[in-house]
């Protein structure tokens, strides 16, 4: 570890030298290079594929907005770590990136710049989304980001094997909450004790919190910009009072459910340490189903697109989300070492408004990375891979980045039903009263670090149902208080009060 810090420092020193030597050559006229860091899932594009896509985009962008684009796809699951390293090292120019660890974090560290001077360049994108959608992009009145335009709350699905679901005779449409899944899981467990009724969607996560904190749980939980596993204070039930989420009845109910399901054999055991995920387990015939959130409508085609192996899948719709500030965590900002922020803003605008740019970055080049089949309906279907190619073998594709890139609704296949469904979620999801409040934790850095360490110690084992909350919750809460969670809550409360007062 020490060596890593040291090398980071060294890189930092070199970066300073580099930055100083670079400032002389900021391009005043002609073409600016803009580096775009965006996340990609599963299959990283090849070097050659990226170069070809860049060349094609440059041909389009140079006359239009005077920009040469430099694409930096990063693995989604390491995006935050990697972008933080790139930003800390500082030797790479970062023009456009996603501040996924929380906008105010990056603002406090001076890693992103305010975009107030570039509102003109961004006007079409801002108008498209409307001020309502942009509430969480302002800090102290300055614009710092554009949120990804997409369904920003989830419809939660319980995806499961159709043969086993049919066998139980339970009507999936009667399942209206996570708790309603219990009889179904129990029935499957009774008939097939050898398979896990519920598998973890992601490693160590059954989504038994994220899918059970929406309107269906009977009380609005707003994490005030945090996530359930990093929550330093939430408002529960529109009370205007910040409280400790982990000490709340709502959290206790969730972890008691997890524990009782674990005891009944309904959950995959040892999920807190196992790297297994449900889609693999289902494909291998060892698991019945899992809870997963999507911003698009589920269909038989979507459910059976191959993620779950050869089994025919069906689904229930157990939950929706409360729209809160963290719903806008997918957003793009301009980096502090951008050589030409105006050019970056011009490119950013196109990511929200230009069909060609968006689809080229997502799907690559026609003929090389995808082909348009006969009778192609760009509104509702995605283009095909070229003959004999697949997601793993084409030179370039970033298809599954779609959920976190620019304007989702400009992409092939996302302009019709998906857009209608997404707009419905955007317009009709239950919205938190505190939407747009962003906590600035710079006064409580020490406490936040300490509290998060305590959370890491207990959270996963509690939500995977492996520890008995009756024994562990009191210890957990006591340690959180020792670590200073009440100081953070007081600080958060003061900021929330000021924010509420300013709005009246």
């Amino acid at each position: 570890m020490k060596r890593r810090f040291v090398s980071t420092l060294l890189a930092f020193v070199m970066a300073m030298v580099f930055v100083v030597s670079q400032t002389g050559m900021a391009s005043g006229e002609g073409v600016s290079t803009v580096a775009l860091y965006y996340p990609v899932y599963f299959n990283m594009p090849s070097e050659a594929g990226i170069a070809n896509v860049e060349a094609a985009l440059d041909k389009y962008l140079e006359p239009k907005i005077g920009v040469h684009i430099k694409l930096h796809p990063l693995d989604m699951f390491q995006y935050t770590d990697q972008i933080n390293l790139v930003l800390s090292a500082g030797d790479e120019q970062v023009d456009i990136f996603m501040p996924m660890a929380g906008l105010s974090n990056y603002v406090n560290k001076g890693q992103i710049i305010a975009m107030d001077d570039y509102v003109k360049e961004l006007a079409p994108a801002i108008e498209l989304m409307g001020e309502e959608f942009m509430k969480s992009s302002y800090i102290n009145g300055s614009l710092y980001s554009l949120p990804v335009y997409k369904a920003n709350t989830f419809q939660w699905y319980f995806m499961c094997r159709k043969d086993l679901a049919d066998e139980t005779g339970i009507d999936l449409s009667t399942i209206k909450s996570v708790q309603d899944l219990e009889p179904l899981l129990e029935a499957v467990h009774e008939k097939h004790p050898e398979i896990y009724p519920l598998g973890p969607t992601n490693p160590n996560d059954f989504q038994l919190v994220a899918a059970a904190d929406g309107p269906e749980c009977g009380v609005d939980i707003d994490y005030l910009g945090d996530n359930p596993d990093t929550c330093t204070g939430a408002v529960i039930g529109n009370t205007d009072k910040v409280e400790n989420f982990y000490a709340s009845d709502a959290f206790r109910e969730m972890v008691e459910r997890a524990y009782s399901w674990n005891q009944k054999g309904l959950l995959m055991p040892e999920a807190s340490v196992s790297p297994d995920i449900a889609s693999d387990l289902i494909a291998a015939g060892r698991c019945f189903g899992s809870i997963i959130g999507y911003g698009y409508p589920m269909s038989d085609a979507m459910a059976n697109s191959g993620t779950y192996g050869d089994y025919t899948m069906t689904w229930a719709e157990p939950a929706t989300d409360l729209m809160q500030s963290s719903a806008f965590n997918n957003q793009f900002s301009i980096g502090y070492n951008s050589a030409d922020p105006a050019a970056a803003a011009r490119l950013m605008n196109l990511l929200w408004t230009d069909e060609y740019v968006v689809n080229t970055i997502i799907y690559g080049l026609e003929g090389e990375d995808y082909v348009i089949p006969e009778g192609f309906d760009p509104i509702n279907s995605m283009p095909d891979y070229p003959e004999g190619m697949a997601a793993e073998t084409v030179p370039y594709q970033a298809r599954i980045s779609c959920g976190c890139f620019g304007n989702n609704f400009l992409m092939y296949g996302f302009m019709g039903d998906v857009k209608d469904f997404g707009m419905n979620l955007i317009n009709n999801s239950r919205k938190s009263q505190y939407l747009g409040f962003l906590y600035d934790g710079s006064n409580c850095k020490t406490e936040i670090t300490a509290v998060n360490t305590v959370i890491k110690q207990y959270y996963i084992s509690l939500v995977t149902g492996e520890l008995n909350p009756a024994d562990i919750l009191p210890v957990f809460i006591e340690e959180l208080e020792d670590a200073g969670i009440n100081d953070i809550i007081a600080d958060k409360q003061a900021q929330l009060d000021a924010w509420l007062a300013a709005r009246k």
Binding site: M1, K2, T446, T449, T453
Partner: protein
């Protein structure tokens, strides 16, 4: 002059790699803001160090780091020296040629792989230990902190002992053969030879190795303490060390001020310990001190 010429590449390397970055220690006392630059950021005194001592984790991680390291130093030396002597007694036979690579091999395996080998043993459902050794009463290893001091010690010993013994084998190889011959002529048994020739002559090497280990007593093998317990939160009581705490605490904040503070703390305490240990050695046995 040729002496310095020969030293130059190593000196330059050490200067660039070890001394040049040191000016960055002041980052530990700053609230870093990238727009202001590292020189322009505000001074905040010792605030970056506070998070290390904020919770009772401070006690746990210090206890674990020191406890494990002391145990590893003592066990490591006892076992490595024993192994080296045993290997030496085998001599240059075919058995030795086969045995040496085998005992060194674990050191070449990445900790991530070791973690999964461990998982194959300890997994509560399908693990070797629960299936074959304790079929009646399976233990869920990854949620019982009390077993982990033993597990980690076994894994550590398995991994490093063979490699650690190399330096002692080399020292034993350097001992004048005439000493052993003379002893044999006088009728000393092998055991006597080990006790009165090999061990005393190994003492300087052992002392240097101990001093070097002590300088790292506040650092821990990150892979061992992070990967092998599969980052299981329940086990932190016996697996948390300064390195893993810092990693976990700062992974999300990515705050280089706090990271530098933690690193500086480790270095300073390590430095003080080396000085103290060296003074003690100097008192006890002046010939063998490091400086």
């Amino acid at each position: 002059m040729p002496f310095f010429g020969l030293m130059a590449p190593a000196l330059i390397y050490i200067f660039i790699n070890n001394y040049l970055p040191m000016f960055g220690v002041f980052i530990a006392f700053k609230n870093i803001n990238y727009s202001k630059g590292i020189f322009g950021s505000d001074w905040i005194g010792f605030k970056n160090f506070e998070f290390l001592f904020k919770t009772k984790d401070a006690y746990i991680m210090l206890r674990n780091t020191l406890g494990y390291n002391l145990l590893f130093i003592v066990l490591g030396i006892v076992l490595s020296v024993s192994l080296a002597i045993l290997m030496n007694e085998i001599g240059k036979t075919l058995l030795a040629k086969i045995a040496q690579p085998i005992i060194i091999f674990p050191n070449m395996i990445s900790m991530v792989i070791v973690a999964y080998i461990g998982f194959a043993f300890l997994n509560s459902q399908t693990g070797f230990i629960n299936k074959s050794i304790l079929p009646g009463s399976p233990i869920s290893w990854y949620s019982k902190a009390q077993y982990w001091p033993y597990i980690l010690t076994v894994v550590h010993i398995w991994k490093v002992t063979g490699y650690g013994s190399i330096i002692y084998m080399a020292s034993i190889g350097g001992i004048d053969k005439e000493l052993f011959e003379a002893a044999r002529v006088d009728g000393a048994s092998r055991w006597r030879q080990i006790l009165h020739i090999t061990l005393p002559l190994l003492k300087p090497t052992v002392i240097i190795m101990v001093l070097m280990s002590i300088s790292k007593i506040f650092n821990s093998d990150f892979g061992l303490f992070y990967q092998v317990p599969m980052n299981s939160g329940v086990l932190y009581k016996t697996t948390q060390t300064i390195d893993t705490y810092v990693y976990r605490a700062l992974m999300e904040q990515s705050d280089i001020g706090m990271s530098s503070a933690a690193s500086l703390f480790q270095s300073v305490v390590g430095f003080v310990l080396v000085i103290v240990a060296n003074q003690i050695v100097a008192k006890v046995d002046a010939d063998n001190r490091l400086f």
